[in-house]
């Protein structure tokens, strides 16, 4: 369908307005209230409302405050029909249809309305027409494309046949819901039956196992019974065997008892032999003892006598020794006295000599002491010693030197006698030929008597020398005065005397020392007095002047004699002691021996008595005989024992015992097993009886019936469920496949357009109802409802445009945009213009807008400017060129 032209008369605020549409895109511009929306409304009313309609939408089309009928006239082409259709409502109602092609036709009233509807219905999809019509304010909603048959036809050749199939699907779903949940799980009776069958199966299995168990008990009972029979037979056999074995064992026991008796017999015989042998041995012992005791007594006697002799001998020897010792003791005492006397004489003689020597010594000592005392006295007075003399001499020498020094400085006089004339010098005659020389220190008077007298006087001597001389002289004088001498010589002489006195003193002291040693003189005197006193006290003859040596010899001899005798006495004494010891020992031995002897005699008596007594009981001979008889009896008993033992061994007691034990154990084992079997049989019988009471068969039958009934129900129900599940699955699968088939081209087309607007990676998800579920852009998928208003509006528009492009061009309807894309930004708008331009090539697009800018860039658009002032004036609409966008400014005039 293509609209060619629309004329409004008295329609809303429009007195008359005519707009001609291009084949592609027509943009109807104009400010609000100039009647743009009226065009869309008029298009709707003329095709759906009869001229008789009194509906609100019709009444509101009447201009306010007037009583004229609103009128619309359209010229259009649709499916080969070329026609003009005119309708007026409310006042002077009319409907007029003029068909020019394919065959002229002219109709009015109801006929015209019906015919127009008929043509429209056959040539255009009314649902599409509505879907593509974007009313103001509804631009955000997606069109209801699923109901558009034309679109379905475009997308898929199949007929949607929506109503009946929805009902079918609803029945299938309802049936499915009886058996399954939304998630495909079993539910309701089907689910219950599963549980019931499982429970009943378990019950059957339980009862079957009880039944099997009872059968097993029964089978075991039979087995045990035959086992019991077998065991009973075995027990009988074992018991018989045991009896035989016991008999053999009893025989062995008899043999063993016999052997034991023989052994006891043998032991008794042995014991008796031992006894009689012991008696015999005792007797022999007694006899032997008697003879031994007899010998002992004799030996004791001999020995006793020997000991007595020895004792006597020892006592005699002791006595002799004692006498010798006594004699020696007396002699020894005399010799001692003689020795003392001799020594005494010697001592006196020595003391006398001592006394004389001491007296002489004392005499000498006294002399020396005297001398010493004299020298000491001298020395006390002679104080000048050699040292002082030396100091004095040195001073004098200094004086001489000082004088000589002074003299050397003074004039010298030399006088020599030449002839005979005596010459005196200072009165001293000068021998002829002699010469006198001297220094003139004082007035020297020389005279040759009668001839001449000469005085030489000294000049003035040098003062220094004089002073030194004076000092030296003074020093000498002082020293002399100190020493109380007049000259050095005198001093020297006094010093010599002192030396002599000193020597004497030393000599005397040395003599004293030699004589007395360390002793004082007094001591020597006391010694002497003591010695003298000793001599006087001595008993010796005072006048005995025998030489010391002889006296000494005599003393020596006396002493030696004494010592010899002492030694002899010691020897004798020792001997006495020894002999005494020996004698005592001999006495002890003797006493002992005699005691032994006595004892031996007594024992002998006892032995003799005992033997006599024993012999009274049994004679020696009878004892011997008894021994021999006992030996014979023992041999016999041993033989009997050997016989019995060998008989026992031949009976093989081990084997017999083992056989018996085995038989006993066999019997016990069979009895045990029999008892166990019997117990088990009782137990089994009880178990079986217990089970028998339960009526397992009946229970099992009931359970099986219930189980089979439930299983049959389950089977039936499961079959029904499987059937509906398969049916539903198949139906749904095919429905989805069909939807996929027609959704795909729609989506492709929508995406093709969308890529222009949104970008190359624009993608959408389309539901089977052909609504956009979500948009994917730059990898982000956003549900349609969550998109911005602008995007929603744009995608909704794209959906319409895609539909318009998709439907067959013969069936297509114009896309009418009434003031839409108010949410789009300029960039998107520009791109949408491109898309609209493209769609315009295959479908008619009519855009009603008060915003010329929005659709200004649609290249192929025809622009129609509605002038507000020309609201009522017909034919005022301006038709722009195809590039109307460029001349838009001019269109406003």
């Amino acid at each position: 369908m293509r609209l060619r032209r629309i004329v409004l008369r008295n329609f809303r605020g429009v007195a008359q307005s005519q707009v001609e549409f291009g084949d592609t895109v027509t943009v109807v511009q104009g400010p609000n209230e100039v009647g743009k929306s009226s065009i869309a409304e008029a298009l709707r009313l003329i095709r759906s409302e009869k001229d008789s309609s009194q509906k609100g939408c019709v009444r509101s089309a009447q201009p306010v405050g007037t009583d004229v009928g609103p009128e619309v006239e359209i010229e259009l082409r649709s499916g080969g029909f070329d026609m003009t259709y005119r309708k007026r409502w409310l006042r002077s109602r009319l409907t007029e249809l003029r068909i020019r092609a394919p065959k002229p036709e002219q109709l009015t009233g109801e006929q015209a309305h019906a015919r127009f509807r008929e043509i429209l219905e056959h040539t255009v999809d009314l649902q599409l027409l509505e879907a593509l019509d974007i009313v103001q304010g509804s631009s955000l909603d997606q069109p209801k494309l699923a109901a558009v048959n034309a679109l379905h036809r475009a997308l898929d050749d199949s007929e949607p046949d929506g109503g009946s199939q929805d009902a079918l699907m609803a029945r299938i779903e309802a049936e499915y819901a009886k058996y399954f949940t939304r998630t495909g799980k079993k539910t309701g009776r089907l689910k219950e039956l599963d549980a019931e069958v499982a429970t009943l199966e378990a019950r059957v299995a339980e009862l079957e196992s009880q039944s099997t168990e009872m059968d097993e008990f029964t089978a075991e009972f039979a087995d045990r019974q035959s086992e019991r029979r077998r065991l009973e037979q075995e027990l009988t056999a074992a018991t018989d065997e045991w009896r035989a074995a016991r008999q053999a064992a009893e025989q062995v026991n008899a043999l063993r008892e016999r052997g034991e008796a023989a052994r006891q017999e043998r032991n008794a015989a042995q014991e008796r032999l031992t006894l009689v042998r012991q008696a015999d041995d005792n007797r022999t012992g007694q006899i032997n003892e008697l003879s031994k005791r007899t010998r002992d007594a004799e030996t004791g006697k001999t020995r006793s006598e020997q000991c007595r002799g020895a004792l006597e001998q020892a006592e005699t020897r002791l006595k002799g020794a004692q006498e010798t010792a006594t004699a020696l003791d007396a002699t020894r005492r005399q010799a001692h006295l003689a020795a003392v006397d001799a020594q005494s004489a010697l001592d006196v003689r020595i003391a006398r000599t001592e006394r004389d020597r001491l007296a002489a010594q004392l005499e000498h000592a006294r002399t020396a002491e005297r001398r010493r005392l004299e020298a000491a006295a001298q020395l006390k007075n002679l104080t000048i010693d050699d040292e002082q003399v030396s100091e004095l001499a040195a001073l004098e020498t200094a004086l001489v030197v000082a004088r000589r020094s002074r003299d050397a400085a003074a004039a010298h006089v030399s006088v020599r006698s030449l002839g005979e004339h005596p010459i005196t010098v200072d009165g001293a005659v000068l021998p002829a030929g002699a010469e006198h020389r001297c220094a003139v220190l004082s007035q020297v008077h020389i005279e040759v008597p009668d001839v001449v007298s000469i005085d030489v006087s000294p000049g003035t001597p040098p003062a220094e020398l004089d002073r030194e001389l004076a000092e030296a002289s003074a020093a000498v004088d002082t020293a002399l005065a100190a020493l109380e001498v007049t000259s050095v010589g005198q001093a020297r002489e006094l010093a010599g005397r002192r030396r002599t006195a000193k020597a004497t003193l030393d000599q005397a002291q040395a003599s004293l020392a030699a004589l007395l040693g360390s002793r004082g003189l007094g001591e020597v005197e006391e010694q002497l007095a003591e010695v003298t006193a000793r001599i006087e006290q001595s008993a010796a003859a005072p006048g005995d002047d025998a030489p010391v040596n002889s006296l000494r010899e005599a003393a020596e001899q006396a002493r030696n004699a004494e010592e010899d005798l002492g030694a002899q006495w010691d020897l004798a004494t020792t001997q006495v002691a020894r002999y005494r010891q020996e004698a005592e020992h001999a006495r002890e031995v003797f006493v002992h021996a005699s005691a032994e002897f006595d004892a031996a005699v007594r024992e002998l008596d006892v032995s003799r008595q005992l033997l006599a007594q024993a012999r009274e009981t049994a004679s020696d001979g009878s004892l011997r005989e008894a021994v021999e008889q006992a030996e014979i009896a023992l041999r016999a008993a041993e033989q009997a024992l050997r016989d019995a033992d060998s008989e026992l061994i031949q009976a093989d007691p081990d084997q017999v015992a083992m056989t018996l034990a085995n038989c006993e154990e066999l019997v016990a084992s069979r009895k045990d097993r029999l008892s166990a079997t019997a117990t088990r049989l009782t137990e089994l019988q009880a178990l079986i009886d217990d089970r028998a009471k339960a009526g397992i068969y009946d229970e099992l039958s009931r359970a099986k019936a219930a189980q089979e009934a439930a299983a049959a129900s389950q089977n039936r129900l499961q079959r029904a469920a499987d059937a509906v599940a398969l049916l539903r699955d198949t139906m749904v699968r095919h429905r989805v496949a069909v939807q996929r088939r027609y959704v795909a081209p729609f989506r492709d087309h929508l995406e093709r357009l969308g890529k222009v607007v949104f970008g190359a990676d624009f993608q959408v998800e389309i539901s089977p109802e052909l609504t956009v579920q979500s948009r994917t852009l730059h990898g982000a998928t956003v549900p349609f409802g969550s998109l911005s208003a602008g995007a929603r509006e744009q995608i909704a528009l794209l959906g319409r445009l895609a539909s318009a492009q998709l439907v067959d061009s013969g069936e297509g309807a114009p896309v009418i945009l009434d003031d839409s894309l108010g949410y789009a930004d300029p960039v998107r708008l520009r791109r949408l213009n491109i898309v609209l331009n493209d769609v315009g090539h295959s479908a008619q697009v009519i855009i009603l807008t008060c915003q010329p800018d929005r659709f200004g860039s649609i290249g192929g658009a025809k622009v129609v400017q509605l002038d507000p002032a020309s609201g009522g004036a017909p034919g005022r609409a301006l038709v722009q060129g195809r590039d109307g966008a460029l001349d838009q400014g001019g269109a406003d005039q």
Binding site: S158, E159, P160, D161, S164, Q165, L168, R171, I172, E175, S211, M214, D215, F217, T218, A219, F221, A222, L684, Q685, I688, R691, A692, K693, A694, G695, I696, Y697, D698, L700, S701, R702, K704, A705, E708, A709, R719, A720, D722, A723, V724, L726, L727, T730, M731, R733, H734, R735, A737, V738
Partner: protein, 376 residues
């Protein structure tokens, strides 16, 4: 000397495969059959009744069955001799040794060994009772071995239980009853006739060797159940006559049909309808062929309705080879289009291909047919 021989009473047996209401009736029916045996014995002036083993279904039965049995047997005017078989062997769990059995009616006897038992003057019974579920020998031969020739004027009957060598597929089994040996013993005059239990159908093994069969059916595989034998032996001539008398009331049927159309289903319905005594009849349907979805729905409806009349009416699953496929016309009127059409095509394809899913797909098609409005 006339007597009634029976076997395999299987008293206490239940049939879990029957419907809930039929099950107790069936259980009671076994005792009713026994009662009729007693009546038969009276009617025919039989001297005694002998039962050749498996009197009771199990030694594990609720002992209440013993009292119920005795209650019936008290009505017998002649002695009843019971032989323990493999189901009620004389083992430790034996029902014959239960306290309940201590108060047995005076006319009831149990053959607990193979000694000659003179049940009535002139009639000797030699039994081969079972002592366990699996004897390791031919019990009948063993019971027969010590027997001498039957005394003159005396009728001797061998009473046994188990599989005979001529019928037993497992001839090597140690407990197989050797028929040749039996013939030899009969020829030697050690017995006049052998009556056996174990096979629930009445079978003449030899003119002197008979399986009595169960008096009331126990399983659908049984060929000739529900009989008793009335046996006449002339003690002087040794002449033998055996008469098979049907006394059973229940029937287990297997109905085999090949179905190809709705008409065939109607044919089957008529066939079922002709069956008398439906409440004592169990029917297993072994159907094959191919039905369209609509016909199958018709069949299911039929089975549902008829099931209420019979003691049991059901498909014999193992023997069912019936394919249900949508007919070209089935869905034609439903105007399925689009994906529903595609789904239908797929299901049809699955349903007609061999595979485990074919059955499911057939069921699913049935559903679709119903939901899409094809159901009448």
């Amino acid at each position: 000397m006339r007597f009634v021989a029976s076997a395999d009473w299987q008293l206490g047996m239940t049939a879990h495969y029957l419907d809930d209401d039929a099950r107790p009736r069936f259980q009671r029916a076994r005792l009713d059959a026994v009662r009729r045996l007693g009546e038969l014995a009276t009617e025919r002036d039989a001297e005694f009744v002998v039962v050749c083993g498996d009197v009771f279904e199990s030694n594990q039965l609720d002992r209440a069955i013993v009292a119920q049995t005795f209650e019936v047997l008290r009505g017998f005017s002649v002695p009843v001799v019971l032989l323990p078989g493999n189901h009620d062997a004389l083992d430790a769990a034996s029902i014959y040794d239960s306290p309940a059995f201590a108060t047995s009616p005076r006319q009831v006897h149990v053959l607990r060994d193979s000694h000659v038992f003179e049940v009535v003057p002139g009639a000797q019974l030699v039994g081969a009772p079972w002592f366990s579920k699996s004897p390791q020998t031919d019990l009948v031969a063993q019971a027969c071995a010590p027997l001498g020739p039957t005394p003159p004027g005396i009728v001797r009957v061998l009473v046994g239980h188990g599989a005979v060598s001529t019928l037993n597929p497992d001839r090597e089994a140690p407990d197989t009853i050797d028929v040749a040996g039996l013939r030899a013993a009969l020829d030697a005059g050690r017995a006049d006739v052998v009556v056996l239990g174990d096979r629930h159908s009445t079978i003449e093994v030899d003119e002197r060797v008979w399986y009595c069969g169960t008096p009331e059916v126990t399983a659908r595989r049984e060929v000739d159940p529900g009989n008793a034998l009335v046996i006449d032996v002339d003690p002087d001539t040794r002449a033998l006559s055996v008469e098979k008398v049907h006394i059973g009331r229940w029937a287990f049927l297997t109905v085999e049909e090949t179905l190809a159309s709705r008409a065939d289903v109607d044919e089957l319905a008529a066939r079922l309808d002709r069956i008398a005594s439906k409440d004592t009849t169990a029917v297993w349907l072994a159907l094959s062929g191919t039905l369209d979805t609509a016909a199958k729905a018709h069949l299911d409806d039929l089975v549902d309705r008829a099931g209420d009349l019979f003691a049991k009416l059901d498909y014999w699953r193992r023997e069912m080879h019936l394919a249900v496929l949508p007919d070209e016309n089935d869905f034609a009127d439903l105007e399925l289009s689009g994906f529903a059409r595609e789904a239908l095509d797929e299901l049809v394809s699955t349903a007609t291909s061999p595979g485990p899913q074919a059955g499911h797909a057939q069921d699913a098609l049935g559903l679709l047919y119903r939901f899409a409005g094809g159901e009448a």
